[in-house]
């Protein structure tokens, strides 16, 4: 049980760190990232610019949330949605035979190897799904020294009326 928690913690830190890194590279040069989005020829250019401004910071804040173990459910849902969208766009570009740089880890990475990029995305989606399913087990324990994972129920200092039904997994 303890080893499972350690593995999940490692997965959470590595996945979160990867998104922070990926977002930071894009946030460093939003003009190049706008060009990369535009390469896919899926959205009008102003929308590509908006995406180039928002997506890197969304990756960063979600990655930080994952690493820090806060707002995790929301971060995982957003990252999953982004990864599904990125993967779909990439598969579509591959089908159309576009010779683009996906900008996944910055525009300087060169022409995209679609098979490799899709494989990497599949791995990340897998990691995000595992973390979503096991989120309760990867969060910091509420009481130091118990060594036990938190049981689903009203926690985090929230009060619920005595008559309230048991809540789902807690929010943190």
């Amino acid at each position: 049980m303890k080893s499972r928690r350690i593995i999940l913690l490692g997965l959470r830190l590595v996945t979160g760190g990867l998104f922070v890194y990926s977002g930071a590279i894009k946030a460093w040069d939003p003009a190049s990232f706008a060009g990369s989005i535009d390469n896919f020829d899926l959205v009008p250019y102003p929308l590509a610019v908006a995406g180039a401004l928002v997506l890197p910071y969304l990756e960063i804040v979600c990655g930080v949330a994952l690493v820090g173990g806060v707002l995790g459910q929301g971060a995982l849902a957003l990252l999953l949605a982004m990864m599904v969208a990125f993967t779909g766009a990439m598969a579509w570009a591959w089908i159309r035979g576009l010779d683009v740089n996906c900008g996944c880890f910055g525009a300087a990475a060169g022409k995209t190897d679609y098979a490799l990029a899709l494989l990497r995305n599949a791995g990340l989606v897998g990691a995000l799904i595992i973390l979503s399913l096991a989120w309760g087990a990867t969060r910091p324990a509420p009481e130091a020294g118990t060594g036990q994972s938190r049981t689903p129920g009203p926690q985090d200092g929230r009060r619920t009326p005595p008559s309230a039904p048991p809540a789902g997994p807690s929010s943190r």
Partner: protein
């Protein structure tokens, strides 16, 4: 479910605030509209002014070249770079003074710029000798309609 939605809204709001700041003050913030032409590019109208003193180079993958290309264009892609470059070099030597115009798929694909730079470097040509077609194959096809 509700918790996840609230958290998502918080994260999106935070990222949105940072994005607004980036859009306003980032030194490398993108322009909201595309420039008609980038450095080293030439519009199709400009190429037409050069008449037949143009060597077209198709930098797209081979299968796209075989599906359709600018009449007389030579393929040049990284899959068979050395052979195709030698072919271009021989062709260019027989047509001294011709401009080389490279194109790839869309208006923002990077390959044509990359290939043009390699041609300049490996054949010892200048910026005035090798150009990139603004808009690429997409612009060419649109002009044929």
């Amino acid at each position: 479910m509700r918790t996840a939605l609230v958290q998502m809204a918080l994260l999106v709001a935070l990222a949105g605030a940072m994005a607004v700041a980036s859009g306003l003050w980032h030194p490398r913030r993108p322009a909201w509209s595309l420039p008609d032409i980038d450095d080293g590019e030439v519009l199709l109208q400009g190429v037409r002014q050069w008449g037949d003193r143009v060597i077209w180079v198709d930098a797209r993958p081979r299968k796209l070249y075989e599906r359709g290309h600018v009449s007389g264009a030579l393929p040049l892609n990284e899959d068979d770079w050395d052979n195709l470059l030698a072919q271009l070099e021989r062709y260019h030597e027989q047509r001294k003074g011709h401009k080389i115009v490279v194109y790839c798929s869309t208006r923002r694909c990077d390959t044509s710029h990359h290939v043009a730079e390699r041609i300049r470097r490996e054949l010892g040509l200048g910026r005035d000798d090798v150009w990139v077609l603004a808009g690429g194959w997409e612009a060419w096809e649109a002009a044929q309609r």
